[in-house]
Structure formats: structure tokens, C-alpha cells
């Protein structure tokens, strides 16, 4: 008999060494996630994958699965918590979707749709952050960076380079480039690198490929990030509760 955990009452098998997220993905159970990508080392920073294991909050992308865990995942309360976290990500940056090339293909936006997010709820921080357009084929727009470090990990773990890092502390954290000038053009990144493509939001974009697919026909215009969504979105805001 293989070992199992229980996610929302469903038995899910797992092998030693797997995280709750690994087990859920293998069983086709959707746990919202943003900083996690199979194949890269787990990070545990966005906290969208937060679940309650035997009443305790844990990140499913980093928490090892262990026999008998009772996991709450797809609950109204957790949906509210996750929506709030998404709103926090929106308002700490400058996410002006109508003017963003990633719109429709953006994981953050898709998660926001999935969680019925109508607005950012909190006062906007409107930070001033820099754009780096130095590279011939890539552009960095830090306004949209959510500090998920997927590009950092992809570059180190898959591309065998070390193009990106996160610098600074607290709300001032920001993406930096590992090159003498700090500019992307001076780094050894190439368009084919995973790091060039992995950004879940519109913070690292490939130049000259804008609007090839029209708005309205893009990935998340046609599909929900989890195909389990209810049909109607209530237009009155709900408030999260997390006691």
C-alpha cells in the first residue's frame, strides 16, 4: 500500500521526498501556486499555495508530504486568503494590465480571475521602479516583478548561468542583473534560455513579439487556470478572514 495524504477529503498517494504540491500535481488536484514550477527547486515565497495541514498553515510547495496529513485546500476561507495575497502582489507593484503585453497570458492575472478578484482592495503603493531595455531581444519591466525568483532559479539551475538575483530588503526588494553595469545587455543571457521565458508575469518579455496573439484570444482568455471555476463572478467584494 502506498502512503497517502488527504486533500479536502480525497486520498492522494505520495512517495517519500514529495511535497504536498508534488503529490497534488501528480493527482491532478489544483493548489494555486505562483512561485512554484516543477523542475525547479521549490521556493516557498509567494504563499499562494498556503494550505491548512491539521489546522496549521504551511506552504504546500515546500512542505514534505507525510502519512496521514489532513489538508484543507479548496475552501472558501483559503480562497479569500489567497485572493488577499494576490491583491497584495498587485498593489505593491504597478500592474496596469491594459498596457501590459503579458495580459491574457499572465499567471498572476489568471490567478486573480480564478479568485474572483475585482480590485486591489488596498491602497496602491505605486512604487517607482526601473525598466531595463538594454538587451536586443529582452526587456525587464520591474513594475510587474513579483519577486518569485523563477528567473533566478531557471538561470542557475537550468541555464547553468547566474543572470538574476534579488537585492535589498523588505518592500524595497528588487530584481537585479548580475553584470558589471547591472544591465541585461551586459549579461550572458540568451533569448533561448529558460530564464528568458519563465517569468509568470510581464516583467521579463521578449522584444518584437508584442500582440502577435490578439487580446481576448490569449491563454487565460480561453482557459481558466484551474478548469474548476464556477461560472458566475459576484461583483460585490468579499473580505478575507484568517483567524
Amino acid at each position: 500500500m502506498s502512503k497517502t495524504i488527504k486533500i479536502d477529503g480525497v486520498d492522494v498517494p505520495f512517495e517519500d521526498g514529495q511535497t504536498i504540491m508534488d503529490a497534488a500535481l501528480a493527482a491532478d488536484i489544483y493548489i494555486p501556486h505562483l512561485c512554484h514550477k516543477p523542475g525547479l527547486s521549490p521556493h516557498g515565497s509567494c504563499k499562494l499555495c498556503t494550505v491548512d495541514v491539521d489546522g496549521r498553515a504551511v506552504s504546500s510547495c515546500t512542505m514534505p508530504a507525510s502519512e496521514g496529513q489532513q489538508i484543507a485546500n479548496n475552501t472558501p476561507a483559503l480562497k479569500e486568503v489567497r485572493k488577499t495575497i494576490i491583491q497584495m502582489l498587485f498593489i505593491e507593484g504597478n500592474h496596469l494590465c491594459p498596457s501590459c503585453e503579458k495580459t491574457g497570458d499572465c499567471t498572476l492575472q489568471a490567478l486573480a480571475y480564478h479568485h474572483d478578484m475585482l480590485d486591489g482592495h488596498f491602497p496602491q503603493f505605486y512604487p517607482r521602479r526601473n525598466v531595463d531595455a538594454s538587451h536586443p531581444t529582452l526587456i525587464i519591466d520591474r513594475d510587474r516583478c513579483i519577486l518569485c525568483e523563477l528567473c533566478v532559479r531557471a538561470s542557475r539551475e537550468v541555464d547553468g548561468k547566474n543572470v538574476f538575483a534579488i537585492a535589498g530588503r523588505g518592500i524595497k526588494r528588487q530584481l537585479i542583473v548580475n553584470s558589471p553595469s547591472g544591465k541585461l545587455a551586459d549579461s550572458d543571457i540568451e533569448t533561448e534560455d529558460l530564464a528568458s521565458h519563465i517569468c509568470p508575469v510581464g516583467a521579463i518579455l521578449i522584444k518584437d513579439h508584442g500582440y502577435e496573439v490578439p487580446i481576448g484570444r490569449r491563454t487565460f482568455d480561453l482557459h481558466s487556470i484551474a478548469e474548476t471555476d464556477l461560472e458566475q463572478v459576484i461583483l460585490k467584494k468579499t473580505v478575507h478572514h484568517d483567524a
Binding site: S45, K47, I91, N162, A165, R169, I171, K172, I176, V177
Partner: protein, 589 residues
Amino acid sequence: MNSVQGAAPTSDLTSASYHDDHLLHRLYALQQQFQHIPASSIGALAAELCLPLAQVEAVIDFYSFFHRTARGRVDLLFSNCTSCGDLSLMHDLCQRLGVVPEQTRADGAVSIGEASCIGMCDQGPALLANGRTLTQLTPLRLEQIAERIEASTPIEQWPAEWFHVHDNVRKNGLLLGTTFSTGSALVAALEKGAQTMLDEIIASGLRGRGGAGFSTGMKWKFCREATGDAHYVVCNADEGEPGTFKDRILLSSHAHAVFEGMTLCGYVIGAKKGYMYLRGEYRYMLPELLAVLERRRKLKLLGTAILGQSDFDFEIEIIVGAGAYICGEESALIESMEQKGGVPRVRPPFPVTQGFLAQPTVVNNVETLAAAAHIAVHGGGWFNAHGSDKSDGSKILSVSGDCTTPGVYEYPFGTSIQRILDDCGAEHVQAIQVGGPSGTLIAPAEFERKLAFEDLATGGSFMIYGAQRDLLHVIQNFAHFFAHESCGFCTPCRVGTTLLKNGVDKIATGHGTQYDVDELRRMAALVKRRSHCGLGQTAPNPILDLLQRFPQAFEDRLVHSDFEPHFDLDKSLQEARRLTHRDDAEAHL
């Protein structure tokens, strides 16, 4: 060697126990020499230390004591702690010297800013002058400081007694009252052997004094059993929790016991190397600590073949931090030791199996290690004859705030809060922050509660607030502290601590409604429950405690309307008024 290009300056402190090839130490030397980290020095430094450029850049931006643009030749950092800070003094001095806070004066002579608690709560107000500690500030002292700055008198020539830091031990207990004979713990360990000594530590019931209270013996046991290329002992001397300064006394007057505790731990877990991570604010103690280590080396209590035992080698190195509370969190501390920003790691794995350089590592608080040294000499029974049911031994407290004799007090666990208040001369007490901002705010009705892991746990901070204090203002201070110190790794804490800060500010400045209080409560719950590490998980405590115990403190400030704007509308027009030179009625909101 004044050129910015080429090798970065090294310090004159290099010793067997303070290495110049550590990034934090090199950046410190650069900051001292140039008042900032010159951009042109970064490349050479990275190359010399064989570190990626981006890692050096990231570290510079992570720690509060490194700057991109030049601070003044005299850089004054006033503590902003509720116990050892007094920002009105700072503003007075700014005015006197014509300085805008956090901006270097045009002539480059002086800059003035804030620092999180610098651990001088028993002798505040205090500041750091180019990293050196000045305590018991008075308007007169600031006047004298101002004169010297205007006369360009280098800090080295300021009167030495200004920099004197007192121990202020007010009450000795089990540890502070027992003389520790240098070397005695190691002699005992060699007599008993590592396993027996471990059993003794376990039996003593010693639990970590850094806050979390994990069994020290079990921690050592897990580490001893873990396999790795090397094992490490780390002494956590980061002491960053506002209101805590008891480790300072242990380091200044009981350093042998602390180092011996580290060496003992090394013996038990099979480590040959130990590190003390000393907070940057305590750098003034470094020369003396290095001297103690040198004496221990001479006494054959450190180095190779300790006490003539051919297979007992142990070295201790000191790494000095650079202004980051989060580096007290053990895995962030290890990251910092590894020349990175202090971002807490994902756990598991825990440091006991994968710590420093991914090797099994014990991280213990200063006091824990000193206690272990005493236990090695006197036995577990001596230790656990004191204390309460679940908390053996004694606790050294840092008592500060509104009382007549702030200082260090040692009590057996199980002592009541009221007893402590009586001893330190605290009257008309409104509230106490036990365990610092991350701990618990208690009201008078709870003063019969006990100091113990099972009741009121504390890493040592004990801040007393008298009747005249504005508690909302206190909590506002803490909210700012956490927002400033959040490492920024995880969303709930990175964004949430800033939202909490803004929320408390809104209410404290008289612009909050009941809606804002509800929002605050919800955000506090989320940050507490969903954050990655102890910082975020405790950051909302002061707000939640105040809401629960002193709801009036909030209600008194509320505006009774359904909704108040989230920003100051009239202030938002200020820039436009200035640019258009208008001040008519329509130019205001």
C-alpha cells in the same frame, strides 16, 4: 592605500578569529573609509572574494549599515527604540546642525538618521556614532557633540568616557551569581566524555534562551547524530529584539563562559569550528572578545589539542553583522554567515542537519551557551533545582522603560511579573511588553502571571510602559520596526507589514475609522498565520494584543464616519500649489 579602484581596504583588526575575507567585514571597512560603498570598488571586491557581482550588490542593499551614497564623516544613528531611543533629541540636533534626517549635510561633515534598537535600553537615549555607542544622551551632550562636529574633531578624539557602556546588573541569580572558573567546563567534559555530557545537558532541562525554547540537549543530540563533512557551532549574538540587552552583559563580562559553552558544544557534537555572529551594533566589544579568545588560545582552551587532548581541536571565529534584525533568525543568520542577505531558509531541513555550508549546525543563543557551560561544571541537578514545572533554571532579563532601576535581572523561572516590577521600582504601570515587540503585551490584570515558557515566554526583553505613555504610539513604533526589518522574501510579511504600518499610522494620526480597525485586524491575522518565518508570524502581535487588551487605545482615536480617505487629499495638492503659486480656496481639498 586610498584608491577606490583595486583591492578594497582591509581592517587592522585581523586576527585568528576575525577574518578579513568575509564580505560583511570588507564592506564594513569600505563604509568606514569612504562613508559609503563606492560603486567602483564592488567589481574588485567581488573578484577578490570570488563572489558573483550580484551577490555583493544584493548584500549591500540588504543591510542597514551599508550605503550607496556617502554618509557624513560623522554618521549619527539614533536608536528609535521605545526604551533606548529619543527621536526628539535627534530632531533637535538636526536643527542645531542644519541637517535633514537621512541626508548628508552638503559639506559632507555629518549625517543623522535612525537605527532600530541598539541594545542600550538600560542607559538610553543612545546613538551610534560611526558605529560606536554613545549612551545616556542629554541635551548638553548633544551640544558637545555638535560643537565637535562643527570643529571637525574626529570621533577618535571625542572623550573616551562618552563611549562607556555600563553593565547595570541589578540582580544576580543562578548564572550571574555563580563564578565561572575559566576552563572548568572543558575539564569536566573531558572527564565525563561527550555522551555523558550530552546526557547531562538533556537532563538539566535547559531550553533555548533565544526565544523559541527548544531543548538544548535534544538540539545537540540531533546535530551529533547528523552526518556531514563537518559540524559547526554557532553562537547567536545578534540580540536584535528591541528591549533586549542581556547578551551584551554576558559578552562583556562573562565571555569566557560563553566561549566555553561553544567549545563544550563542539566537543559534544564533534565540531571543530564555531562562529559567533555578533550584531553590528555590538562591534565595540569586538577587540575585547578577540582578546578573550587569544587568552583562551594561550590557556590551551582553544585551538588544537585543547587541554592536551590530541583529538580535541576547536577554533572560534567572530562574524559581525551590519544592521538587520532578521539575521537573529537562525537560518537567516546562517545565510548571512555565508555572505548573503539574511533571508530565512525553507524548513525542513533544519540547521541541525543542514546548516552552515549545508552541514549539521547547532545555533544557540549566548545565554544558552553560558548556561550550558555552568551545567557542565555543576551538573543538571544544580540547574533544574531552580525554575518552574516546565521551565528549568533561571532567565536573565533586560528590564527597561518606565522604572527607577533599568538593567539586568536574573530570576528563576516561575517568578511573577509583579515581583519584577517591585524590584525595578516600576509604579503606575500601564502595560508591559514581555519578550519585545514579537512577544506579548500584557495589562495590569495579568501581572500575577509567571515568567515561564508555559506562561509568559521571553527571550529577555521586558519593556515597561507607565501610565503616561500613549500605547498606540508604542505599537506604531513596533509596526514601523517590523516593516523596516522584514526581509521581504514572502508576500504576506513583505507587503503585509507595510500595510499594517500604514494602517496603524492612519489611525494614530486621527484619520482612521472602525473600517480601518477591522482591516487592520484582518491583515494582522493573515500576516501572523501565513508568513514564512518567525518575524512575520509575530509582527502583528503588538497590534492584536493592543486590540484585545486596550481596545480603547484605538477607539479614542477613531473618526466617526463610514470612510476616511487613505491619503491626505489636501497634502496631495501641496506640490501643485507650490508649482502654480496658488493658495486660493479651490487650491485646497
